[in-house]
Point group: C2
């Protein structure tokens, strides 16, 4: 068991950094484990963090970077001089390099790329060009590929000569290509051990291996690995030239990242993850960027109420029901949003199947609207003994629930087609529209029957 219960490891870490004893530091970090490392690093001061990375070798520092979340890692790298950050990032696997540099502001990333070894920098630049949740964005650039006319002898010699580089690769397959660089075959590594050394790859390879294009989506890749129990799949461009390899572990990690982003986006944490170890000003600014849009949308929605001030003044009890209708419609609509998001992720619904979703949600919206309308209308009736008030409030909530549920179901599909992030955008649009309609419904009904309400 290496799962320790170290209560305040950052205090010990601080002391060790102050003592500048590299061996003690290395031993300490090894005993900590990844979660505790992340926690300890996030709790020491920025000065301590910089001193820590100045002490560690780039390879050791890279291991620390692998333990912390990408957001934390990006912040740590941005705080270092570019040359030092570059030496550390050089030690990471290509997909992590690209992810990390993608999180860093573009000037800082550029400064670091200029200090990296030219090959690593070029690889990272190429990977950074692909969208995150595609095969291109998930693949690693570390793979073994040889021309099909090479002999086993040649391949083994090359492996031997480059063993230090290749030892870092998680290699299970050797890919075979033709003179134009097109993928034509694959061999398992242990297939190299038994045949005669003079034979050529072309004679031994499994021809036309399974592959995916760089544009394959995360869902495509999940389906691929669900179906094929492989240790990796080659990624090719439109001309079948090999670009990289996607590993199943990285697909699962990308899916987890997507799920986290979705959760955070829905909750209004935008522009990257937030940790409480970040500077207060940054946390506050990021949260406000979301809140300030919302307050404007809220003021717009509530201005509907201002149009009906006379009605409201005449039947003041309506004021109690306005926030209830606003909140309940939001709740009903968000349920529908979540179901659509989930069905989209699982591939159970396609963005163009809007009629299907509308039919299913409208039916449900009608039933739930009826139930909620009766509940709220009944509460209003009981409170004021006024059937008209109950009717106005109940019917308004019923209709608005129907609208909220239908709209909530459709929004993620529409936003996906418009290439907007449904997790981020669905909520604010939904609540603004349903608030406006909800206020309008209650207050316009009330205006019509005002003599019976007042």
């Amino acid at each position: 068991m290496t799962l320790k219960n170290v209560e305040r490891p950052w205090e010990e870490l601080h002391d060790i950094i102050a003592s500048e004893n590299l061996t003690t530091l290395q031993t300490f970090l090894e005993t900590l484990g990844p979660t505790e490392t992340a926690r300890a690093i996030s709790r020491i001061s920025g000065d301590d963090q910089n001193r820590l990375f100045a002490l560690l070798t780039p390879a050791d520092a890279a291991e620390v970077i692998e333990d912390v979340s990408e957001t934390q890692a990006a912040d740590l790298m941005e705080a270092l001089p570019p040359k030092q950050a570059a030496a550390i990032i050089d030690e990471l696997q290509s997909d992590l390099q690209a992810d990390l540099l993608g999180e860093i502001s573009s000037e800082n990333a550029e400064a670091i790329l200029l200090e990296m070894s030219p090959e690593e920098a070029e690889e990272a630049r190429e990977l950074m060009a692909y969208p995150a949740d595609t095969a291109g964005g998930i693949m690693i650039a570390e793979f073994l590929a040889f021309r099909e006319d090479r002999t086993i002898h040649y391949v083994l010699e090359r492996l031997q000569a480059n063993r230090e580089t290749y030892a870092r690769y998680h290699v299970q397959y050797l890919y075979v290509r033709d003179r134009e660089g097109r993928l034509t075959g694959v061999l398992r590594m242990h297939d190299l051990l038994f045949p005669e050394r003079s034979r050529r790859l072309k004679e031994l390879m499994i021809p036309n291996p399974l592959c995916v294009e760089a544009t394959a989506t995360l869902e495509d890749l999940q389906a691929f690995f669900d179906e094929h129990k492989l240790f990796g799949v080659p990624v090719v461009d439109a001309e079948k030239r090999m670009l990289g390899v996607v590993l199943p572990h990285d697909v699962e990690e990308a899916a987890l990242k997507q799920a986290d982003r979705q959760y955070l986006g829905t909750s209004g944490i935008v522009g990257g993850e937030e940790f409480r170890s970040m500077p207060l000003a940054l946390r506050s600014r990021r949260r406000l960027s979301w809140l300030s849009i919302n307050i404007v949308l809220n003021i717009i929605a509530a201005s509907v109420i201002a149009l009906y001030q006379d009605t409201l003044a005449a039947a003041i009890s309506l004021a109690v029901f306005l926030p209830i209708i606003s909140d309940m419609s939001g709740c009903s609509g968000n349920q529908a949003v979540a179901v659509s998001m989930r069905e989209l992720t699982l591939g159970l619904v396609r963005p163009h199947e809007m009629l299907r979703v509308l039919g299913k949600e409208a039916a449900l919206g009608l039933i739930n609207g009826l139930v909620l309308g009766i509940l709220l209308g009944g509460a209003a009736l009981l409170w004021k003994q006024n059937p008209t008030l109950g009717l106005v409030v109940g019917v308004a909530l019923m209709l608005n629930t129907l609208l909220a549920v239908s709209l909530g179901g459709l929004l993620p599909l529409v936003l996906k087609r418009l290439k907007l992030d449904p997790a981020l955008v669905s909520g604010p649009i939904l609540t603004t529209v349903t608030d406006m309609c909800g206020f309008f419904l209650v207050l316009s009904f009330a205006t019509v029957v005002l003599p019976r309400l007042a």
Copy 2:
């Protein structure tokens, strides 16, 4: 590329089921791929689903079950006669058996367990006893373990004799135990190939292998596999007796499931996942179970407004700001909830560190409250040219933001300590409290300065 673009595969599936041609059916399902299988199965009628499983062999049916989500799978199994469901579930890996039976209503699960083969049923029952997000809940019961005094010869004989059973295991390691069943060592499978056959496991094994207890949490396991690049870790009880093996893939899947549950819970989808292929009545009932609690909480919160009807009648413009303050406080609070949830998941904060979180969030709540208060107060001032109205609305939003952010940050920690699900419970508690306080703040301030408002 096996990623096909079949637009409406369920229509073809329906026709094939009607034709009752098993070979065509098998070929068709093989070409579909997991996502498309899940989509097609969910779109055919319940009758077609039952006919499909009656046609397929249990082994084929089990492969279909592995393609669909757990919720879908549970629904499909519940619709079949227990005997038939049992034959299919018998074919699944033990952790999937337990997960699936856990999703099925307990009477139905019991009926299926009685029809399963006794060993499989017992294994499933044992696994079902562990909480889902612990090593016990994630582990599989299929592993190879031999007593340490066995010879290589004996082990190879047994592997040969049971090769059909063992072929289904994803085996990378062979575990070694003493006479009391305690885990004492481990061997990689290929370590069996080279030594003399008369040697005993005790002489060859790596002693005292890494292991985890059945109570280890999902976060512990994620940290474990981040640190140790192993193909699996043995799970032991307090006496070090071996219970099962946790595979890294299953840990990642459990983490993904947890993230999905968190997202769905926050959005008010409770009692399991919802798919639009489910019966309307079930979908409606499940969503209402959440909404009906919320409407009661909403009515309670809004009743604060009723207490101040006279104030409101005298200064009717306040009614415009009540829904805004309610919604904005909810937004600010939910951001803090999301950050706490995330830090808890990543192990960056522990449930007892409430003072740290309170300090960090109160500071942020003060700043954001000030900004939002000035924005809303300014809007009120511009609209009505009444500084008192601006002051009342602005100060109320400022104080309520401070409260919402602090409470939102603390709630997940408190709920975690109380062993309640923070994803599910944080939202309703937060909005009820912040609504009540928000309404109270605006209206009680307004009552004090009423002459200047009216």
